[in-house]
């Protein structure tokens, strides 16, 4: 789930050790230096890059068509590297490795699209609300509240049924379009609240006041002076949020309202595999679940490190 329990703006981000701060130049450069020094971060980055490459270039990993399934080959156990089906086949006789590799794309694309779009909406609205206050703030705050009251699942279900007749093609983006839309609509509130609070704080900083006094346009003040202050903590949320969307996709798949078959996603594979876990075919669940857990772990580790590195209170 998009982490809605997460941070009330006033509440709590972790305060990491205060390592010696280099006489550094930019925030980014400093953060990069910090990240580099941690082996867990490097491992996490490798995992994320690995799956990203898999999503981008599935043909590097398998030449089997994941949609080519022969029912007679149902549930062949993993044969190991070199076999025709290294990770075995599923109930329908589809090659599991091919499914896993091709399933990475919808799952990861969905996550990045949702978080990217939520971030855009959340940051924009939060910035506007915090900067102008008044009626803009009232509208934004009320909207946030309305969206928080509607249960995500109900909204997802309603919207996914609402648009179910929309002809959806088979392209990578088409199969995730509907879940992406819904998860974005209900995923932006945390960012908006966060940015709004940070904007309120930053607005009254001396240099911002100075910039305004010097006649800088509102847009310029917002983008150049306020935003950089607000963006740090929000950036730290991103990897965790991506991880959350990947998990949510699995739940949507379970409820039958996620990525549409015959497109494959990790969520769909987990859902299908879960049925067979007790029947002696645990590998059908364990492989996709393993990929999902590994990706989520890596992203969260990255997020933690980012937060530590970017926390402005350390500066």
């Amino acid at each position: 789930m998009p982490d809605r329990t997460a941070p009330e703006p006033t509440a709590a981000t972790a305060t990491p050790d205060a390592p010696a701060v280099d006489a550094s130049t930019s925030l980014g450069g400093d953060a990069w230096r910090r990240l580099r020094r941690r082996p867990d971060v490097i491992a996490a980055a490798v995992v994320v890059v690995f799956f990203a490459v898999m999503a981008a270039f599935p043909r590097l990993f398998t030449s089997t068509n994941p949609q080519s399934c022969v029912i007679g080959d149902s549930k062949i156990r993993p044969q190991g590297l070199g076999g025709e089906h290294p990770l075995g086949t599923d109930v329908h006789g589809c090659d599991l490795l091919a499914q896993l590799v091709h399933g990475a794309r919808p799952s990861l694309t969905l996550a990045f699209v949702v978080v990217g779009a939520s971030l855009l909406i959340g940051v924009t609205l939060g910035l506007l609300a915090g900067y102008y206050l008044g009626w803009v703030d009232t509208v934004v705050s009320r909207t946030i509240e309305v969206f928080l009251v509607i249960p995500l699942l109900l909204a997802a279900l309603l919207l996914l049924t609402l648009f179910r007749e929309v002809s959806v093609g088979g392209g990578t983006f088409d199969v995730i379009l509907l879940p992406a839309l819904v998860l974005t609509m209900f995923g932006w509130m945390a960012y908006a609240r966060y940015v709004r609070a940070a904007t309120l704080e930053a607005k009254n900083l001396d240099y911002v006041t100075a910039a305004r006094a010097l006649g800088a346009s509102d847009l310029r003040v917002m983008v150049r002076h306020v935003l950089p202050n607000a963006i740090g903590p929000v950036t730290a949320l991103v990897p965790t949020a991506i991880a959350g969307v990947i998990s949510t996709e699995a739940v949507l798949a379970f409820l039958g309202i996620g990525v549409r078959p015959p497109a494959i996603s990790w969520g769909i594979m987990i859902t299908n595999g879960a049925d067979w876990v007790t029947g002696g075919y645990a590998y059908l669940l364990l492989y996709p679940l393993g990929c999902l857990v590994l990706t989520v772990l890596a992203l969260v580790a990255l997020g933690d490190a980012l937060r530590d590195a970017l926390d402005p209170r350390l500066r």
Binding site: I71, V91, H92, R164, G170, P262, G279, Y281
Partner: protein, 554 residues
């Protein structure tokens, strides 16, 4: 929704309470315990059954889903009941059902029968139920069963396309229904129909008490029946309890004391069976292997043929390769029915090779479909003959949103794709029925038929006959004058046997025209606990015959 396949697992559980015996395995949560014993039932025993949560009403006129039907089967008695072996009707509440010409039917009712509230079960009790169901504005689910009775048309209003009523119904009773005397009912049909006597045991034809009609809402949750059990309490969504009606006078009544249904959201109650809380269940596919390998469980396994037929239909009303019978043959020959069943639903389906399911209704025999066996080479040849499949196009297969069916049809699509090289996509639409009715499909679609009464005619006429030579039937645009004539000949036949034979002729016409592809037939299976014996599955509904069950101690 609608009539669902008999596979919709209604597991049943039986517990018996006999204080003196000692506990056997697979205990039950009822207070009693005791060892498995011989035959016979204990009058204090409680039978615990599972029920699907989509049961919304217990009004016979409004019940057309498998689960309420199986509840109402012990709460109500119909004019006829069906033999568990042959599914042929025999008189039960009716003393006799007679007709000279298959148009006017005279039904004599046994004397001195009463409802559970003391009202007499007489000709009026049937007439009021049927009139209520047939009256259009009441919107009863079983309304259409009465369309063969004279006066049905006058009881339906008319509406325009916007749903505004343009004509109120002219009558509120069926003119073809006459109460001659308290024990005699005379029914006039709009035309001869030899199968009418067969329909009379169906839930929609059960009688109702006047008290029920006076407060129909109360009666929908607390039925006033005339059967061996009466509904004690129904917590909708949670459970239903029925106890034996002590004043029951007819012969078919079990000896155990009560039935408790627990409502389930899905069909997933196998762990409850294993834990001893249910005594009847069907394992999910993943557990089937384990169950089949358990010698103890195998002794308590029963299977029998089912009545539900799953087939693939084509939008014959739209231009496309499917207009060519050779193309339809190619598709049919390309589906590895047995392989799909073995992988996905072993023992719960059998490959279909006829349009009328064999063994469960009179006139049903297997093997009438010549092109229903998996034969990749013949399939390719047939496709060639049909002119192939247009390059770059995808075959869209439409179906509803049932998870099990989606699995099955993914396998069907895979099979077609592998054999014929036709790429496919599944369109699992929640508006399946609406779109099918609106002829909005652009490719083959899944269809399923569960018969309403045991006669081969019911697999044929309601599905394929329309009388509309220009457009064909609504669902797939099929029309055959020969087929319609054969059905009509069956309706007009002098005896039921002759009628059945005529209907078989109609099926042969389907086998030639090949408008649809028979795919799977449901098979009824159940595992049951040590507590029950004399388990007989009704071939028609697929459920255990509750009235025959014997319950020993759990």
């Amino acid at each position: 929704m609608g009539r669902r396949a008999a596979v919709a697992a209604t597991a049943t559980a039986v517990a018996l309470v006999l204080a003196s015996c000692s506990g056997g395995g697979g205990g039950n949560d009822d207070e009693g315990d005791g060892g498995g014993g011989g035959g016979g039932s204990d009058p204090d025993a409680t039978l615990n059954l599972a029920l699907s949560q989509d049961v919304e009403t217990l009004l016979p006129m409004d019940s057309n889903v498998g689960d309420n039907i199986s509840v109402l089967d012990v709460v109500y008695d119909g004019l006829v009941r069906y033999d568990p072996e042959t599914t042929e009707p025999y008189n039960y509440v009716a003393e006799s059902v007679e007709t000279e010409d298959n148009t006017v039917w005279t039904i004599k009712i046994k004397p001195d029968l009463t409802f559970q509230n003391g009202e007499p079960v007489d000709a009026d009790a049937f007439a009021r139920a049927w009139n209520y169901a047939a009256y259009g504005p009441n919107a009863m689910a079983n309304n259409y069963f009465f369309e063969r009775i004279t006066g049905y048309e006058e009881m339906q209003g008319e509406t325009d396309d916007d749903g505004n009523v343009t004509k109120e119904p002219e009558a509120d009773t069926l003119s073809g229904l006459k109460v001659v005397d308290p024990q005699t009912l005379e029914v006039t049909l709009t035309g001869p129909f030899a199968g009418f006597g067969t329909m009379l045991g169906y839930t929609g034809f059960f009688p109702i008490a006047q008290e029920c009609l006076d407060d129909i809402e109360a009666c929908a949750v607390q039925p006033i029946g005339n059967g061996p059990f009466q509904v004690e309490k129904w917590d909708q969504g949670v459970g239903l309890t029925a106890t034996r009606w002590e004043d029951y006078t007819l012969e078919e009544t079990p000896e155990y004391g009560a039935i408790e249904w627990t409502e389930y959201t899905g069909e997933d109650n196998w762990p409850d069976f294993e834990a001893g809380n249910l005594d009847f269940a069907v394992p999910p596919p993943a557990e089937q292997q384990a169950a089949a390998g358990d010698p103890d469980l195998q002794e308590r396994y029963v299977e029998g043929p089912g009545a539900a037929l799953t087939y693939m239909a084509f939008p014959l009303y739209k231009d496309g390769p499917w207009k060519d019978v050779e193309f339809r043959k190619a598709i049919s020959l390309a589906v590895d029915r047995q392989g799909i069943i073995d992988a996905l639903l072993p023992s719960q389906r059998v490959p279909a090779d006829s349009w009328v399911v064999p063994d469960v209704v009179p006139g049903g025999t297997g093997g009438t479909c010549e092109w229903c066996a998996f034969d990749p080479d013949a399939a390719k040849a047939a496709l060639e003959k049909a002119g192939g499949w247009p390059d770059g196009e995808k075959l869209t297969i439409h179906l509803g949103q049932d998870a099990t069916e989606q699995e099955l049809f993914k396998a069907v699509g895979d099979s077609i794709q592998e054999t014929l090289g036709i790429p496919y996509e599944l369109d699992a639409t929640p508006d399946y029925f609406a779109r099918r009715g609106a002829r909005d499909f652009s490719g083959p679609f899944r269809a399923n038929w569960f018969p309403d009464y045991p006669l081969n005619e019911n697999y044929l006429a309601p599905v394929y006959a329309s009388g509309d030579a220009k457009n064909g039937n609504v669902e797939f645009g099929y029309y055959s004058a020969d087929f319609e004539a054969a059905v009509k000949a069956g309706d007009e036949a002098a005896t039921l046997d002759e009628a059945v034979a005529q209907y078989q002729e109609a099926e042969k016409i389907l086998a030639t025209d090949f408008p649809t592809i028979p795919l799977f037939v449901a098979q009824n299976t159940y595992y049951y606990s040590e507590n029950v014996s004399n388990v007989v599955l009704d071939p028609f509904s697929g459920e255990p015959k509750l009235r025959l069950l014997e319950v020993t101690n759990g």
